[in-house]
Symmetry: C2
Subunit: 502 residues, 2 copies
């Protein structure tokens, strides 16, 4: 029965245990692994590698699609197996190692990693570890709940370990669309013109002579934890929905909007819930991740098609999807992340991109990655791919948090991931700033007045006005610009009076 | 004879003087004008507008391709006619008005402006002022030495004023390739697969009922001033050429490289001169601006094709081109700037992008626009369009300048235009840092050691080491991060000891 999932009979003697597979990894290797936002990751081999006893140095560079589940990143870090990690992570233990400098992290646009591998701007992949649903007779493999960078890893790796996940029904075949843009100087057009355009094949071609091991697993993806909408996220969603309604009134959008992209998290969920009972219809998504709210919108008859690179949902949603797979199958498509996040396609489709900021400054620059400008949170993910090329680039954040000791609107962001050139709309629970067609001085007034928390508004205005006295296109006081974040580190609060200290 | 340049006879009675044309402009209007890096700009009408006497308020928003010549921007600013200006400028008088806040400037990616107009994210264009070589019988117009945003302005403007420049031979017909990607949700693929792919038509279609005036001129473009390579730019060019040679040795590039983009200026010239007597051959360009060095390389038989949005050259080169136009005609193509700078095409062709930074920080973030983080120099131009999507993104800058009182490698840039996610290579006259595959802490060491000026190297290392003690993925000392630029403002030097003061 399991063997039926390995259709090329010549490969059947490659089945080994995860522990055996873990022995293939040598110090200094570069490993490419499936896994995107905890979906379709290696559940056995990387875990066995993380648990592998080693007395000599055993350090690898690990490249994935995006974040992994099952605490694998943390375990690899704790067992000192990670020299370098890219392009994204969300693991609290790994994060500590990254921020202490023990693990070198490269924070990449998720759409770029495959490009860098193709262009040989990164080291060659020694071993690819890829979760699949099955190996077809032609040797090609059907991915599971994500594609991520798997197509590129499989094409470029010197050796391949496959993890066949028996918990994924083989009926998943057909939801993947695998396309290779090819190599310079003969790159191809990526001919997607609608969220649902199919441009490739539904499995990943594979040179079976590169397969050095096949491991069976039966473990589900780490489920997404769904945070219920709260007062703040509902407020943000409602400002955003009102804005979209105004765009429709102004004749710039229709009730079907344009394809939506949303980062994972509470705000996206709240917005998508807002669509459920609304006048919006025939919505589409062209995003990175299909979340619970995607399937709720399909159920509500509001969303006609959703394209992404992974399905990252709660356990309940996961069950719903696979129990009713026929219902969803022709409404979703998973693509390699260099296609889901391709600048070319994002610009051509005209995406409405909604992502979360750690902090925004009064001129509209956005920090998505660094707490206090120094400590990595998760990484830029796909936010830059979408922000730069979107039809509308929207960033959301709370106005203030942690007992209002943190203002998420600051004089100057402590790290820039998205420049003011790229940011159209900022929304907080206090309001929305539409920055289109505004110069920096106009942006500042609008962001401060519409988006900042009242506790910080006078301070921001004061900073801005004093900066204007010094002049400049983008007025700043360099000696003070980062003082708010410095104060937060020192005192636990961005507030100036001592009563604010926690 | 002049009238032959207006082939639709019905338009011949639209000929007026520039002064008459200047009367069409009303307070509050949005004006779109041809002109890209001083090429193909309005020489008569905007000039007459700048000189127009007005007692009532007469303020317009002026959108162009890029910078204008003939001091028009400065004259418009001085006569208080500019309320808002976008997307780029290089005028020293206008710059003062921008930095004092008297003119609101929007610094845009040059590839974006036409998108924003198409998407109605900017106000509607009331009047377009477009320099052309002639009006064809079908009503379409042949642009002159640039296309810039002219195709979009002509399509979208409510009214059009044409400036027919008699100094441009009508034989220029054929070097333009005008293509419209269309509007959402039905945007078209931009089907360029080589620098020389022709995808559109060689003139701009025009609804002749919108023409409110035609003005004749006979004035050449403001010539580019060519700075001769000096010791520093020769050093930068030589590091860069060595790097390219190493890429060829490593099998990543061939002697024909990939299509080149270069910002204007000394360094680009020095690099291109380096190609003249070299082993490189069959080079191509896919850039914004064709400069003197482009034509030198064609003359040397090294460059087979060059695509851009303008021809911006010295008087001598201008003469050479138009005296030998047949020689160059089939080797160059001018495109709208939303095509020359399209993310889609830049990524597909695999551009090697070389642009100049105002300052770079030790982690590879780049400031292209703001002196002291506050004062606008020129604008981001196309540097972001190319940097983000290039095959190789290279930034060059002097290690130090102004008697070494300015270090162009700083702890933290005072304004971010290009994030470390996008920057592959930094080159100064002290060396080259190849940042591919490096994490921030590795980048810092490499940038400091390879690129910084020896006068600042110990200070940069000291900053970096102290920042590392505080930890973080991107170690910084927020209280000190911008101190160098603050010191420059206060003391005239980034150096710490008093002897460095000028
Ligand atoms: C930006 C991002 C971290 C926000 O996620 P979130 O779940 O809303 O984050 P939170 O508000 O819970 O903040 C996360 C942590 O950072 C801290 N933090 C957030 N903003 C901060 C600020 N301005 N200063 C200091 N700390 C801050 C929070 O306090 C919290 O810390 P804790 O865990 O100790 O409580 C997340 O969206 C992200 O990683 N984005 C980048 C990737 C991306 O956008 N991908 C797009 C497609 S998925
Ligand atoms: C970045 C850019 C200004 C550099 O151009 P350049 O001609 O090499 O500039 P210079 O070195 O002469 O510097 C220009 C001025 O800024 C000042 N300056 C430059 N760097 C500075 C710094 N780090 N701190 C303070 N002042 C600085 C210089 O001193 C000079 O001032 P001055 O005119 O008073 O002497 C220019 O390349 C640009 O505008 N780039 C953005 C647009 C772009 O890249 N387009 C790409 C396609 S064309």
């Amino acid at each position: 029965m399991n063997q039926e999932r390995i259709q090329p009979t010549s490969l059947r003697d490659k089945v080994i245990t995860a522990q055996e597979a873990a022995q293939f990894f040598k110090n200094g290797m570069t490993v490419g692994s499936s896994g995107f936002t905890r979906a379709g990751d290696s559940k056995a081999v990387l875990k066995a590698l993380a648990a592998r006893k080693h007395t000599d140095e055993l350090k690898i560079t690990l490249i994935t699609g995006a974040s992994l589940g099952h605490d694998v990143d943390g375990q690899l870090a704790e067992n000192n197996i990670l020299a370098k990690r890219m392009p994204f992570q969300t693991d609290s233990i790994l994060r500590k190692y990254i921020n202490s400098g023990e693990v070198l992290f490269i924070d990449q646009h998720l759409g770029e990693t495959a490009e860098l591998i193709n262009n040989k701007h990164l080291p060659e992949i020694d071993i690819a570890v890829i979760e699949v649903a099955m190996i077809k007779a032609d040797g090609s493999v059907i991915p599971t709940t994500s594609i991520g960078n798997s197509a590129t890893f499989i094409e470029k790796a010197k050796a391949i370990i496959l993890e066949i996940n028996l918990s994924i029904p083989t009926s998943i075949e057909g939801i993947h669309d695998v396309f290779y843009p090819g190599e310079y100087p003969n790159r191809k057009i990526i001919p997607i013109t609608q969220a649902n355009t199919i441009i490739g094949q539904n499995s990943i071609p594979l040179d079976i002579s590169k397969v050095i091991g096949i491991v069976f697993t039966n473990i589900a993806d780490s489920p997404a934890t769904i945070a219920e909408p709260d007062q703040k996220t509902i407020a943000i969603a409602s400002y955003l929905l009102d804005f979209l309604r105004d765009e429709i009134k102004a004749g710039r959008l229709t009730n079907s909007l344009l394809p939506l992209q949303a980062g994972i998290g509470k705000v996206a969920n709240a917005i998508f819930e807002g669509f459920v009972d609304s006048e919006f219809h025939d919505l589409t998504m062209y995003s990175e991740v299909l979340q619970d709210s995607t399937f709720d919108l399909i159920d509500a008859g509001k969303l006609t098609f959703a394209s992404a690179s992974s399905i990252t949902v709660s356990s309940a949603c996961y069950e719903k999807i696979f129990m009713n797979f026929d219902k969803y199958k022709d409404k979703i498509l998973l693509r390699p992340q260099n296609i889901s996040n391709a600048a070319e396609v994002i610009r051509r489709l005209g995406i409405i991109a909604i992502n979360t900021a750690i902090e925004c400054d009064i001129y509209g620059n956005v920090n998505s990655t660094h707490v206090y400008g120094t400590k990595m949170m998760n990484g830029i993910g796909g936010s830059g791919d979408f922000a730069r090329n979107a039809y509308l680039c929207i960033f959301v954040t709370q106005a203030a948090s942690k007992g209002n000791n943190i203002s998420h609107i600051v004089p100057m962001v402590s790290h820039v991931d998205h420049t003011e050139h790229d940011v159209d709309i900022i929304v907080t629970d206090y309001g929305l700033a539409d920055l289109r067609g505004l110069a920096p001085r106009e942006r500042a007034i609008k962001i401060i007045n519409n988006c900042s928390h009242p506790d910080y508004r006078p301070l921001l205005l004061d900073y801005y006005q004093r900066a204007c006295q010094e002049g400049g296109h983008t007025p700043h006081l360099l000696n003070e610009a980062l003082e708010w974040q410095a104060r937060l580190i020192e005192t636990g609060s961005m507030k100036v009076d001592e009563f604010a200290l926690v």
